[in-house]
Subunit: 179 residues, 2 copies
DNA sequence: GAGTATTGTATGCTGTCGCATATATATGTA
DNA sequence: TACATATATATGCGACAGCATACAATACTC
């Protein structure tokens, strides 16, 4: 779904910017995923999960649900469950029962998982710089980040308004940041 | 292994802008794909292929290879081959032998395919406006498109330089395992 | 405290992906 | 012409995705 034919040639037509975004995303991601695979033997989903565990506030652990939501809508719940199973089979994480809620599972990265993250992250940073970073100037990166963050913020703001309006009680998210 | 040109906190650190781009892409795409599926029963890959056929310069036809390349690295060659087979099975396109090259196949959208594109495109435009367009102002869309287009142009420029340079390569695409 | 709804995670099934490879045609070279 | 190589597309196969659903534990309501 890159850039279809359309009408609406106005200045606020979002199609050109969306098409350009899709084009950049797809080609850069393609390069980065290839680099991770070839130079670090790391699947991009695995890398992403390890990265969020790395940043987790209690050392290297996150409840499954929070980790899944941190990864945007990248995986469905079943898909994410299987990703974690594979990672556990590969020795990258452990799954521990949550003592506070016996339905829940806490994912903890192992020493091997953290080592693999460090190696893969070096590849990732290098590939991203080559494939994306050096194609824009300093100010451009900052401005791009600002604009795109506005989109996310605006979207999220409206979503929580909708959520709050839809239910009488808005006990929605557990009191965690978890972007 | 490449040396870790690691964590730059500089202004030209591409990570924040890349992360923001990924976040916007994933969530907007999620919404748009859901809308296409729910309101137009159209897979996003099918929609993209129909869109490129729609704007093809000879009426509604393109050689398979060109159509595939137009869709960026979204599908592998085999994956694209099967996408077209499915579309043909659904009556959205025909595959005709190319009289000039009997290896090749020309994909032609059928009347039904064009009708489905029009219906799906209306859904697409509406969903994109809701999910992406209205979260930025007019100038922002233009500036965003300009910046991202620069990335694509710069990337493409370098790629053709590399292609022209020929065999002077580092050890990139080699099948070395490494971990 | 019993009954129902809700939440967290896992599994069966099916569809589609990418990789490796096969097949057919085209092109280059002797 | 004969042969090696390149290009266009298709198929076998294994991996992984999402949907629907199952299962387990918790939370709400009375």
């Amino acid at each position: 779904m890159s850039d279809p034919a359309t009408h609406e040639r106005d200045a606020d037509d979002p199609l050109p910017s969306w098409s350009a975004l899709v084009s950049v995303y797809q080609s850069v991601l393609h390069d980065v995923v290839a680099a991770l695979d070839e130079q670090a033997s790391t699947d991009s989903g695995v890398f992403s999960a390890l990265a969020y565990l790395e940043r987790a506030r209690p050392p290297h652990r996150l409840p499954m649900g929070e980790l899944q939501r941190a990864m945007h809508p990248r995986y469905s719940q079943p898909g994410f469950s299987r990703l974690v199973q594979r990672m556990e089979a590969d020795g990258l994480v452990e799954r521990r029962p949550d003592p506070a809620d016996r339905r829940a599972t806490i994912v903890v990265s192992t020493r091997a998982g953290r080592a693999q993250f460090r190696a893969a992250n070096a590849v990732y940073v290098a590939a991203l710089a080559t494939s994306f970073g050096r194609h824009l100037g300093e100010d451009d990166h900052a401005r791009l980040a600002a604009m795109l963050s506005r989109v996310t913020a605006h979207r999220d703001g409206e979503r929580s308004q909708v959520a709050a309006a839809g239910s009488v009680r808005k006990r929605t998210t557990k009191s965690t940041s978890a972007s």
